[in-house]
């Protein structure tokens, strides 16, 4: 059972959008990006190409939770950035994942 903190729980009820949401947060951790740039970045880091339906379903949820916010842009592509809350949620989720990964690797090494 993965121990969850309050911040980590922010991503819990995203349903099928949980993984895309996490990938979006990881992508935005480097700085503001617009939708197209996010799909390219996510494909590069996770070898997953998010379709626009999935991408904007996850973006809308993240925005509604205040984990990301849209910035004004001159062209039709609004960039998004992580909020402080989003950064905390991402850190918490990555910490949980790393704890599980470390445990799994340690057990495999002892097997």
């Amino acid at each position: 059972m993965i121990r969850k903190t309050k911040n980590d729980a922010e991503l819990d009820d995203f349903g099928r959008f949980s993984e895309p949401a996490l990938l979006i947060l990881v992508s935005l951790a480097e700085g503001p990006r617009h939708g197209y740039s996010m799909t390219e970045d996510i494909e590069a880091i996770a070898d997953v190409r998010l379709g626009p339906g999935t991408l904007y379903g996850a973006l809308a949820r993240l925005e509604a939770r205040g984990l990301i916010e849209a910035l004004k842009s001159e062209d039709r592509r609004n960039p998004y950035r992580l909020t402080t809350l989003g950064e905390r949620a991402l850190r918490a989720r990555l910490d949980s994942m790393m704890a599980v990964a470390r445990t799994g690797q340690r057990r495999l090494a002892n097997a």
Binding site: H34, G35, Y36, T39, R49, G51, P52, G53, T54, L55, Y56, G57, L59, A60, R61, E63, A64, G66, E69, A70, L71, K72, S73, R76, R77, N78
Partner: protein
């Protein structure tokens, strides 16, 4: 492929339509892409509340200004339609009361400085009433009474003094 956008709710298209179209146009047409967009459209219809969270993107430089305005205006510059309606109702009601009061005082006391001051003070008083009803309605009752009565009294006395001095020349 942009015709697929029509499957989304109007409010969703208004918020995300342009950038969604840009991402859609950048991807190669495939059955998987169509299914993904269809799934997204169903999701957007099932969860319309997701489109209400942040309808307009904020400018980076707006953030600090908004925070400062929220501090200064004791309730925030973003008045809800309900707050606006309540504040407007109080302002209209106050305007009617002030008008009746001014007419009655003029009939009884004619144009003495105290009555003139009521007439001159009516417009700023309405602004004060609107501001109080809009921004301070959720504050403690005592705070509201202090600001409203204190503000009205101070303003009336100042205008009265101006009228008295003005009538001497």
């Amino acid at each position: 492929m942009n015709w697929l956008l029509q499957l989304y709710p109007a409010r969703w298209r208004e918020r995300y339509g342009e950038e969604f179209g840009a991402v859609l146009a950048s991807q190669r047409a495939s059955v998987g892409l169509v299914l993904d967009v269809l799934g997204g459209a169903i999701d957007a219809h099932l969860y319309p509340q997701l489109q209400n969270s942040n309808p307009k993107p904020i400018k980076e430089e707006d953030t600090m200004t908004l925070l400062m305005l929220q501090r200064c205006s004791a309730g925030g510059p973003k008045l809800s339609p309900r707050d606006q309606r309540i504040a407007s109702f109080f302002m209209i009601l106050s305007a009617l009361v002030m008008a009746v009061l001014y007419i009655a005082l003029t009939k009884i006391y004619h144009s003495v400085p105290a009555v003139q001051a009521v007439g001159y003070a009516s417009f700023p008083a309405l602004c004060l009433v609107y501001g109080e009803a809009a921004y301070l309605r959720k504050r403690r009752g005592l705070t509201q009474v202090f600001i409203l009565l204190g503000g009205l009294s101070g303003m009336y006395l100042f205008i009265l003094a101006v009228c008295v001095i003005g009538n001497r020349f």
